[in-house]
């Protein structure tokens, strides 16, 4: 069977499975639609949370980013997992005890104010919408590369599938579909990794392979990789830093508290029956996430080695990488390179006209290296490799069988679709419940609300699809913004709502606005106001990363600090919190008396 046919078969089978589950798990009530009836087993919920969390970015892009960044890429690994410790201890059990459907509902009740819940709705909509654009683009890329249809057709098919199970199944349908999607994506990620680890180190477990010796030698794989990259002018793989160590620290904090503050993740903990289950469920979620996240660094390092080995075979031997015959002759490049050149994710430009590929760091500050490179007639790096290739082309680079390539396609789609569905649910419940039911149409019946929820979701799918087809120029920058918003506004306000009995609405709202404000200011200074080109004002704040070398992506943590400081300052200047609210906080802190989640006040 051809690669194309196998891919259609594997992807078709997984899609049939998702739709089948959706029909089996239709939602009949708002409780089932919003929180799957509040009766999901913690392990099942953990698996669904893992699939919800691991997006196209985790599956497709993360290993590539680690591959480029080396040691510094660990900030994604620690940041996107460490947040679950915060979530399990500081937020999940208390929000579950609180017993409502949505995050804005918590804000509305705890801070006794509709405006507080509105601020939360806006943060939620901005964070979720920016996220979903990335998922839809991911669906498009996976379809166009693997199934030979156009990018646009891919997005339409993706929209149709999500529509079917999200609109009819609600949270119940989404949860059980996500369990299936988790299995598909983790298998698809692990199998190529096992093959490659076995091939390079003889150890089938990638997590151990990364710490093993190269097969047939007594040189450790990471040591060899360090030698290869330094030979080609790059910094050491196991030591390279993103800007500086402080920036890595702050960036990790931002991702951790951003993870704990993302509404579509928090809402997962409303679906379990008890407070006790909410605590354990975060642990199960992290186990399932760790399966992929501990494999990713192995994929990153091993794929990098395979790539260098393909382009400049001399790196593996004692021969000089500068020898004229060392670079790969372009006309003899392997088929996978030709296939990926078509997508534009891989580009070759023969700068010195020798017909061979020179892939090295032409911005190296090492004068000796630069001298050798120019002596060898190298006139700049000739190969540009998009980070996404590291995972998507990984099985092809390692020459694995066709069914493995097909599996990776199905896995990428599972990752993108499961996250898109979770986000759509968060968006539609914010609209139908927090906006319509709570603010504009309080007399809506349950049936009416369920219908409104489904219509809101259908509209969100269309908007998400449109944004996927016409991605705004700022799409890439906004994912960082989603974390920045969650970290600087939602996380601190939730924390203070639970851990401070005296925090009042004035303090919380001033804190949120100040946190978001300062974060947006720093991000816009670098990337332009609302990401519009030419409106950046980075020189006014003293040049790029002027705040102690901290990059705009990492700034959410600083925003959170500002949030806390402003909130406590304003609280001390305004009227104290009402007694019944302080009593409510006391009730939220103990597990006894937790009831099934209900949407009513």
């Amino acid at each position: 069977m051809s690669l194309q046919a196998i891919t259609y078969l594997v992807v078709g089978l997984t899609f049939a499975l998702y739709v089948g589950i959706a029909i089996w798990a239709r939602a009949g009530s708002t409780k089932e639609f919003y929180v799957a009836g509040g009766s999901v087993h913690p392990i099942t919920n953990g698996m669904a949370t893992a699939a919800d969390w691991m997006s196209a970015a985790s599956f497709i892009s993360m290993a590539g980013m680690i591959s480029n960044m080396g040691y510094g890429g660990g900030l994604f690994l620690m940041g996107w997992t460490g947040g679950y410790v915060l979530l399990a201890m500081l937020l999940a059990p208390y929000l579950r005890k609180f017993g409502k459907f949505t995050v804005p509902q918590f804000f509305g009740s705890r801070y006794y104010s509709k405006s507080a819940s509105m601020v939360a709705v806006i943060c939620l909509l901005v964070a979720s919408t920016t996220y979903i654009i990335g998922q839809m683009t991911g669906v498009g890329v996976a379809f166009s590369r693997f199934l030979g249809v156009s990018n646009d057709t891919g997005i339409y098919i993706g929209m149709a599938i999500v529509f079917m199970y999200a609109v009819f199944g609600g949270m119940k349908g989404i949860t059980y579909t996500q369990v299936a999607q988790f299995c598909v994506l983790v298998i698809a990620y692990t199998i190529p990794a096992i093959f490659i680890s076995l091939h390079l180190t003889g150890n089938p477990i990638p997590q151990l392979g990364l710490g093993s010796d190269m097969v047939g030698t007594n040189v450790a794989l990471l040591e060899k990789l360090d030698m290869i990259v330094t030979d080609l002018g790059f910094g050491k793989y196991t030591e390279s830093l993103p800007v500086n160590r402080l920036n890595m620290f702050v960036y990790t904090v931002s991702l951790m508290i951003g993870t704990a503050g993302l509404p579509h993740v928090i809402v997962r903990f409303f679906t379990v029956p008890k407070v006790k289950d909410a605590r354990a469920s975060a642990g199960w979620a992290l186990i399932f996430i760790a399966m992929l996240y501990t494999t990713a660094p192995a994929v990153a390092a091993m794929a990098k080695m395979n790539l260098f080995k393909t382009v400049n075979p001399a790196v593996m031997t004692s021969a000089s990488v500068f020898a004229p015959e060392s670079g790969l002759v372009y006309d003899q490049r392997p088929d996978w390179m030709k296939r990926w050149e078509v997508t534009g994710l891989l580009k070759f430009e023969d700068k010195n006209g020798d017909g061979r590929i020179q892939y090295y760091n032409d911005k190296s500050k090492d004068a000796e290296f630069q001298a050798k490179a120019s002596a060898a007639g190298w006139k700049g790096n000739e190969l540009s490799v998009n980070a996404d290739i590291i995972v998507l082309a990984n099985p092809e680079i390692a020459m694995l069988p066709n069914w493995v390539i097909a599996l990776v396609a199905a896995g990428g789609l599972a990752a993108a679709l499961s996250t898109a569905a979770g986000l759509l649910l968060a968006i539609s419940s914010a609209i139908s419940h927090d906006l319509l039911k709570e603010n504009f149409m309080p007399n809506m019946t349950e049936k009416g609300e369920l219908m409104a929820g489904k219509i809101a979701m259908a509209c969100s799918i269309v908007v998400a699809g449109y944004l996927g087809l016409n991605p705004p120029g700022f799409a890439a920058g906004t994912v960082a913004l989603a974390f920045g918003i969650a970290a600087s506004s939602i996380f601190p306000a939730l924390m203070m709502g639970i851990f401070s009995k005296t925090m009042n609405k004035e303090g919380a709202m001033a804190g949120m606005l100040a946190g978001i404000g300062v974060t947006l200011f720093y991000v816009f200074a670098h990337k332009g106001i609302l990401f519009i080109k030419g409106t950046d004002f980075v020189n006014l704040i003293g040049g790029p990363n002027s705040f102690f070398g901290i990059t705009p992506e990492a700034f959410g943590a600083i925003g959170a600090l500002v949030n806390f400081a402003v909130a406590f300052a304003v609280k001390n200047m305004t009227s104290p919190v009402p007694h019944d609210i302080a009593d409510m906080v006391e009730q939220v802190r103990i597990p006894r008396g937790s009831k099934a989640v209900d949407g009513a006040h």
Partner: protein, 84 residues
Amino acid sequence: MTTDGVAYWKAVLGLIRNVLIVWFVVSYGFGILLAPLLNNIHLGGYPLGFWFAHQGSIYVFVVLIFVYSKVMGKIDEKFDVHEN
């Protein structure tokens, strides 16, 4: 709040503090701040600081959540505030 309620909350905050100390030390301590120092020690083919940043922290995080969850269950029962 009753005396029991105060003692319960104190026990909870104590547990959270202890978990956060370990959480901070493995990721920010071993994985970032002390990484250059720890890289002189090797765990198989891994420099130790690199291992904490790319592997070790994640394993510790998983263990931490389950330990927290278990100890919280015990605290709940001790103060008789667990769910029925």
